[in-house]
C-alpha cells in the first residue's frame, strides 16, 4: 500500500483538568472511508479539531501524505487538502447556497470587491454537480432542508480540491444526527461516491451506520486509539465492547451505598407527556430511586428532561409530584414543587460565572438566605459554609467567583443550589459528569447516592451507558421520541451495555 493520505502519531492535548487526547494514533489510507467511533469524551472531537487546525496539539505529529505538517488554521488545513463538514450550523443561514460554497475563496466570483453573481452561480453549480445535487445555488440557505444544507456543506468542502493536486480528505462529523432515514440513505450514497476521488473520515454515534458505510473503523477510548476493525462482517457488539473497554472492578459508582427502593406511592409520576420531539412518555420514579434515561443522539431524552423541569413546551400529558399535579408546567412551578435541575451546559445554563460561590448556591432558593426582603449576610455565610463543608467543595472561600473553581467543584455548587432550602424531592441530572475527570465523577456519584438515601428521587441522563448502568436502579431506553423499553438495573443484576445498545439502535 502506498503512503497513507493522513497519519496521526502520538497526538496529545491537555485541557485544564482533562487529558482530551492521550497519544492518539490514526492512519487514513487513500480513498477509503474510515470510521471513528468512541463514547462521549473519548477524544473524537478534539482529534477532528486538531486535524483542521482548530486545536493546537501539545505533542505528537500529523502527516499528510507522509510529510509532517503543522496546521494553524482551517485555511492551513484546506491548503493541505483537509476539510471538515461540521456538525450542522456551519453555513451562514442568510446567504445563498452559492455564497456559502465559495465563502472565503470566491476567486473570480468577486472582482475588486464587486460580486459577479453569474460567475458565482456557475462556480457553485460546478461543485454541486460533483456530488450530483440539484439544489438551486441561489436559494437562501435557511430555506433549504437539513439534508440539502448538508449537501451544500459537502460541496463547499470539496472546493479544497482546487488548492491541492492531491485527492482531498473530507471529514464528516456526526453528519447523520439531524437527518431523516431517507436522507441518510442519500448521504451514504454520496459518501460512497466521494470515495472515488477523495478520502473520507466519518464520525457517528450510531454504530450500525459506521459499519454500514465505512471500510474500516478506528475506536477511541480515553484519548487513545484502542483498536481497529475491518467492517466487513463486523457487528456493532464488537465495536461497542472496544468503546467501553473493561469496566474497572472498583466501586466507582458506590454501588454498596445504593439504597433499596421501597415501592410505595411514586414520587414522580409522568403520564402521556408529549412535546415537539417526544411522544406519550409515561414512567414513575420512587423515593430514593435513580432512574436513568438512555438513548442515542436525537432520541429526545434531553427534551423530556427539560420538559419535566418546565423548560420545554409540552403539548399533552401530566406530571405529578407526590400525587399532586403540577399545573401549567413552568420552571417556577417545578422549583416550587421541589424539583431541581442540573443542566448539561454547565457554563451556559448552570452557573453565572463571575458571581460568587455563595450567590450561585443561593440562586434558586433566595428564601434560604433572606431575612424579610433583605439578604442576611450572616445567615448566608453560615448556610453556604455548611454546604461547602458537607459536599467538600474545594474553593478558596464562599466569595470566590465560581468560574475559578474546577468543573467538579462547580458542579457540586450547582447541586448544592437545590439542597440549601432542604425541600428538594426530585433531581433532574442532565449529563452531570460531563467534562469532569474521574475523581470528580466519583464524588458526584457519591453525592447522588447520599441524596438518594435521604429519599430524593433522581432522573439521570448519563454521559455514557456505563454511567447509567452503574448508577441507576432502573433504565428507560428511548428511541425516536418514545420509551422503547424499561430495563431493571438492580445491584448484582445489572444489564450489560450490549443489551441496551440492542434496544437503542
Amino acid at each position: 500500500m502506498s503512503v497513507p493520505a493522513l497519519e496521526v502519531r502520538g497526538l496529545v492535548k491537555h485541557y485544564p483538568g482533562v487529558k482530551a487526547l492521550d497519544g492518539v494514533d490514526l492512519v487514513v489510507r487513500r480513498n477509503e472511508v474510515l470510521g471513528l467511533a468512541g463514547e462521549n469524551g473519548a477524544g473524537k472531537s478534539t482529534l477532528l479539531k486538531a486535524l483542521v487546525g482548530l486545536v493546537a496539539p501539545d505533542a505528537g505529529s500529523i502527516h499528510v501524505r507522509g510529510e509532517p505538517v503543522r496546521l494553524r488554521s482551517v485555511v492551513d488545513a484546506a491548503d493541505h487538502g483537509i476539510g471538515m463538514v461540521f456538525q450542522e450550523q456551519s453555513l451562514v443561514p442568510n446567504l445563498t447556497a452559492a455564497e456559502n460554497i465559495v465563502l472565503g475563496s470566491e476567486g473570480p466570483a468577486v472582482r475588486r470587491g464587486v460580486y459577479r453573481w453569474e460567475v458565482m452561480r456557475r462556480l457553485a453549480q460546478e461543485q454541486l454537480d460533483k456530488i450530483g445535487s440539484r439544489i438551486d445555488p441561489l436559494a437562501r440557505t435557511d430555506s433549504l432542508s437539513f439534508a440539502d444544507r448538508q449537501m451544500v456543506e459537502i460541496a463547499k468542502v470539496l472546493r479544497i480540491e482546487e488548492r491541492t493536486q492531491h485527492p482531498p480528505v473530507v471529514i464528516l462529523d456526526e453528519p447523520t444526527s439531524v437527518l431523516e432515514p431517507k436522507e441518510i440513505d442519500t448521504l451514504f450514497a454520496q459518501i460512497r461516491r466521494l470515495r472515488e476521488f477523495a478520502t473520507v473520515i466519518f464520525v457517528s454515534h450510531r454504530l450500525d451506520e459506521v459499519l454500514d458505510v465505512c471500510d474500516r473503523v478506528t475506536v477511541l477510548r480515553g484519548g487513545r486509539s484502542v483498536g481497529e476493525v475491518a467492517t466487513a462482517g463486523a457487528v456493532p457488539r464488537e465495536l461497542h465492547r472496544m468503546m467501553i473497554g473493561s469496566t474497572g472492578s472498583d466501586d466507582h459508582y458506590h454501588e454498596n451505598a445504593a439504597t433499596t427502593v421501597v415501592s410505595e406511592e411514586p414520587r414522580l409520576s409522568v403520564r402521556g407527556l408529549s412535546g415537539a420531539t417526544f411522544r406519550d412518555i409515561s414512567f414513575d420514579v420512587a423515593r430514593g430511586e435513580i432512574v436513568a434515561i438512555v438513548g442515542v443522539h436525537g432520541s429526545g431524552r434531553e427534551d423530556v428532561c427539560r420538559a419535566l423541569f418546565g423548560a420545554e413546551p409540552t403539548t399533552a400529558g401530566e406530571i405529578r409530584m407526590d400525587g399532586r399535579t403540577i399545573e401549567l408546567p413552568s420552571t417556577r412551578a417545578a422549583c416550587a414543587a421541589g424539583i431541581g435541575y442540573v443542566p448539561a451546559e454547565r457554563k451556559i445554563e448552570g452557573m453565572v460565572g463571575p458571581m460568587s460561590v455563595a450567590e450561585n448556591m443561593t440562586l434558586a432558593k433566595q428564601r434560604a438566605r433572606l431575612a424579610g426582603p433583605f439578604v442576611a449576610p450572616r445567615k448566608q455565610a453560615t448556610l453556604v459554609d455548611s454546604w461547602i463543608r458537607r459536599l467538600s467543595i474545594r474553593t478558596p472561600g464562599r466569595d470566590t467567583p465560581i468560574q475559578r473553581l474546577s468543573g467538579g467543584n462547580q458542579q457540586k455548587v450547582i447541586l448544592a443550589r437545590w439542597l440549601v432550602a432542604g425541600d428538594v424531592r426530585l433531581l433532574l441530572l442532565d449529563h452531570p459528569t460531563r467534562g469532569l475527570d474521574i475523581g470528580a465523577r466519583s464524588e458526584v456519584y457519591r453525592l447522588m447516592r447520599e441524596l438518594a438515601a435521604t429519599g430524593v428521587a433522581t432522573v439521570l441522563l448519563g454521559d455514557s451507558l456505563e454511567e447509567a448502568i452503574g448508577m441507576a436502579d432502573r433504565i428507560l431506553v428511548m428511541t425516536d421520541g418514545r420509551v422503547a423499553t424499561e430495563v431493571a438495573c438492580p445491584n448484582g443484576g445489572k444489564p450489560s451495555p450490549l443489551d441496551l445498545v440492542k434496544e437503542m439502535v
Binding site: 479539531k49 482548530l54 484546506a78 442568510n94 472565503g104 470587491g113 464587486v114 430555506s143 420552571t331
Partner: protein, 331 residues
Amino acid sequence: MTSEVVNAPRRQSRRGASFRDAGPPVALIVVFLVFAALSPQFRSLDNVANIVDAAAVLAVVTCGITFVLMMGSIDLSAAGVMGASALTVSLLVANNRNDNDFGLLGIAVAVLLGCAFGCLSGLALVLLKVPSFMATLGMSAVGLGVATLMFAGVQPNISDTMVKGLAIERFLGLSYLTWIAAGCVLVGWLVQRYTRLGRYAFAIGGAEEVLALSGVKVKPYKVAVFTLAGAFYGLAGVMVTSQLGAGLVQAGDGYDFSAITAAVVGGTLLTGGRGGIGHSAVGVLLVMVLTNGLVQVGVSPYWQGGVEGLIVVAAVAAAVIPQRRRNQVVK
C-alpha cells in the same frame, strides 16, 4: 469553538420568511390609506411631496446605520458626526465667519470627516474590543466636542448659493436633497447586493463564526462598514446645514435614535442578519407618514410623541412575536 450545543432542528419555512418581509410595506400602505381616508389635506399631492422631502435626511442617516445593524452592531454616533460635519461644511463653503469658498470640495471634506469618525468607531470595536454601543456613543461625544470647538460661540451662516439651493431648488416637484437621498438609497442597495462588503456585513450578522471558520478575516470588513456609515452621516450633516442655512452643533440631534427606529420598523433586526436598505427605506417612509398623518388628522401635538412611541413598540412587537421561544433571553 465550543459548539457542543445540540441545535434543535429549527426549520424556517420560505413562506414564513416572505410573510415577515411583507409586513412593513403592507403596514406602510395601510397607514397611508387610513390617513388618506381621514384627511383630504393628507392625500394632496403637495403633502405627499412634503412627506418625501421631510424624509430625506433621515433616509440618508438610516442608510448608514442599516449596514451597521445588519452586522448585529449598533451605531449611536450619527448625532455627533453630523454636528462635526455641519460645522465643517459651513466653515469651508462661503460663509460669514471666514473667506473660504471651497464649494463642492467643502462637502467632500465633510463627508470624509464622517468616514474618519466611522473608521475610528470601527477600530475601537475590533482593536480595543470596545462594544459598538460604547465606542459609537463615545465617538458621538467627540463629534459634538469637535463641532463645539469649531462653532466657537459664533454661528456660521452660509452664503454659498449652491449649498443653500440644495434644500430650496426643486426637480420634478421634489427638492434636490430628496434626490440626493434617493441616490443614497440606490447606492446603499447596490453595495448591499453587489459588493463583498455589503454581503459580508449581512453574513457577519448571520453567523460570524462561520465566516471565521471559512478563513475570512472579519475585522477589516467591520471597520469598513462603520466607515461607510460615517460617510452617510457626514453627508446628512451637509444636508441639514443646507436646510438651516447655518452650521449648528445640534444639526444631528435625535437622528441617531430616529434612524434606528426607522430601520427596526422597516424590518431590520437589531441582532443582525436580517433586513437591508430596502427595508429601511420603507421604515423611514412609515415613520414620516405617521408623523405627518397624525398632524393632518388633528392629533394634538402634545400627544404626538407618545402616540408615535407606542406605535413603534407595537410594530416591533408584532414583528418578533412569531419568533418567540420559551425561556428566550431578550436584552
